[in-house]
């Protein structure tokens, strides 16, 4: 394998921004510290593919702030011409329904046919239905 840089000039893999470099370039670099992922917050990304459609959840990413989250979203989720608009939302700002309360939350409408237009018989003479 051919190195592209002298070892001392190369950032070590996994070295996060803000961690001190090895003081003496002659000394072997110490093992990189584990990077604390929580340093960058989690953001949810919504992409609108074209005018007239809604933003659709595309995925999530890490970013230090909203401006960088938008840029990371642009790089991660619109690489193939997918979007004309992006929203990013801090993941902890989203209130989600409880997956365990599926029954009471989402199964109650079952069997309630009368909430659907097809339940009702068409009156005679009504056009355009």
């Amino acid at each position: 394998m051919i190195p592209t840089d002298s070892p001392t000039s190369q950032a070590r893999p996994g070295t996060p921004v803000g961690v001190a470099p090895a003081g003496n370039p002659e000394m072997p670099a110490p093992a990189p510290e584990h990077h604390d992922r929580s340093a960058w917050g989690l953001w949810e990304v919504f992409v609108r593919s074209s005018r007239g459609l809604s933003h659709v959840h595309a995925g999530s990413l890490h970013a230090p702030d909203a401006a960088m989250a938008l840029r990371n979203a642009r790089d991660l989720y619109t690489r193939r011409n997918e979007g004309v608009s992006i929203w990013v939302v801090p993941a902890d700002a989203i209130a989600a329904s409880d997956p365990d309360s599926k029954g009471s939350f989402f199964e109650s409408p079952q069997g309630k046919d009368y909430r659907h237009a097809t339940y009702y018989t068409k009156s005679e003479g009504v056009k355009h239905l």
């Binding site: 051919i2 190195p3 592209t4 840089d5 002298s6 000039s9 190369q10 950032a11 893999p13 996994g14 070295t15 996060p16 921004v17 803000g18 961690v19 001190a20 470099p21 990077h35 960058w40 919504f46 992409v47 609108r48 593919s49 074209s50 005018r51 007239g52 459609l53 933003h55 659709v56 959840h57 595309a58 990413l61 890490h62 970013a63 230090p64 401006a67 960088m68 840029r71 990371n72 642009r74 790089d75 991660l76 989720y77 690489r79 193939r80 011409n81 997918e82 979007g83």
Partner: protein
């Protein structure tokens, strides 16, 4: 790099203009100029650069190629996965510019059998002293701040260059520049956002940002040096005199640095000479890694 010269197939899976099947992951390729389109025009004899224009395209192509190779080294090594992809995207943009410029340059440089040199001939089968990139592009990645410093200088230089080159009397150079300038505009945004954050972050990140700028600034002067080739081409309206970009570059970079409360580094200029094939010790290692596969297995495809 690829040498495919087929026409532009439409892989769009949706209908433009709001169809009911559209989704957040719909794939459309768009219609921007691709290196394959230039190769096709070269092959069919539609475009052929003058000797001067070919040499000029070679310079710009080498700049972008060496930077792409450098940036690609960050993939899997950036501070965060998201930044891996950001730098990878920038590297691929640069590689695209390199492919277009080198394909066009090769059309003016014939092989022994009389056919045009391909982008691969130029990328993989030239030696160090035949590369025409300026020395900034081959400077080591260093730490993340040094890479951002290099990218900051490059993106503001390339933006001014490509913005003017869209008015070139050479239609192919103008077309390549018109595609590249939009991409480089985003590279400016990316690097300046990071300059602001590293300079305004921790004491450590600020120290590193200042150090990174000092490492790269000696190579700034070489970017704006005129020579006989650029003078001839600038007079003909085909190219842009590098010196004419300096004022805007200085003004715009100084604005970002001022916002980050950083000084423009006051460091002596490096001698340069990349346009004449004089390179720092770093380029040989880059070429060894970049060229080894193509040279070990000439004509290999995968």
């Amino acid at each position: 790099m690829s040498t495919h010269t087929e026409g532009h197939g439409d892989i769009s899976t949706g209908v433009a203009g709001g169809d009911s099947n559209a989704s957040a992951t719909r794939i459309t390729p768009g219609n921007a100029l691709r290196p394959e389109d230039i190769a096709l025009e070269v092959k069919t004899g539609l475009v052929k650069p003058s000797e001067d224009v070919a040499e000029y395209a070679l310079r710009l192509g080498d700049d972008a190629l060496i930077l792409a190779q450098r940036l690609g080294h960050w993939i899997s090594r950036a501070p965060e996965l998201e930044e891996d992809i950001a730098l990878g995207n920038i590297a691929l943009d640069q590689l695209g510019h390199a492919r277009s410029f080198l394909t066009y340059a090769g059309a003016g440089m014939l092989k022994e059998d009389g056919t045009a040199k391909s982008e691969d001939d130029l990328a993989y089968f030239r030696r160090e002293h035949e590369f025409r990139s300026v020395q900034l592009f081959e400077q080591p990645n260093g730490d993340f701040a040094a890479t951002i410093a290099r990218q900051f200088v490059v993106s503001y230089y390339q933006y001014e260059l490509y913005r003017r080159l869209t008015d070139s009397t050479d239609a192919t150079l103008a077309a390549i520049a018109a595609k590249a300038v939009k991409e480089v505009d985003y590279h400016r945004d990316h690097s300046s956002q990071w300059i602001l954050r590293l300079a305004g972050g921790t004491e450590e990140s600020r120290t590193r940002m200042i150090h990174g700028l000092r490492l790269m600034w000696p190579y700034v002067g070489e970017l704006f040096r005129d020579d006989e080739l650029t003078q001839r081409l600038a007079e003909a309206g085909a190219a842009v005199a590098p010196s004419s970009l300096r004022e805007d570059f200085d003004r715009l970079t100084a604005e970002v640095l001022a916002e980050a409360e950083l000084e423009v580094p006051d460091v002596p200029a490096a001698p340069g000479g990349g346009r004449q094939g004089k390179h720092s010790e770093h380029l040989g290692y880059i070429l060894a890694e970049m060229q080894v596969l193509a040279r070990e297995h000439p004509g290999a495809s995968w």
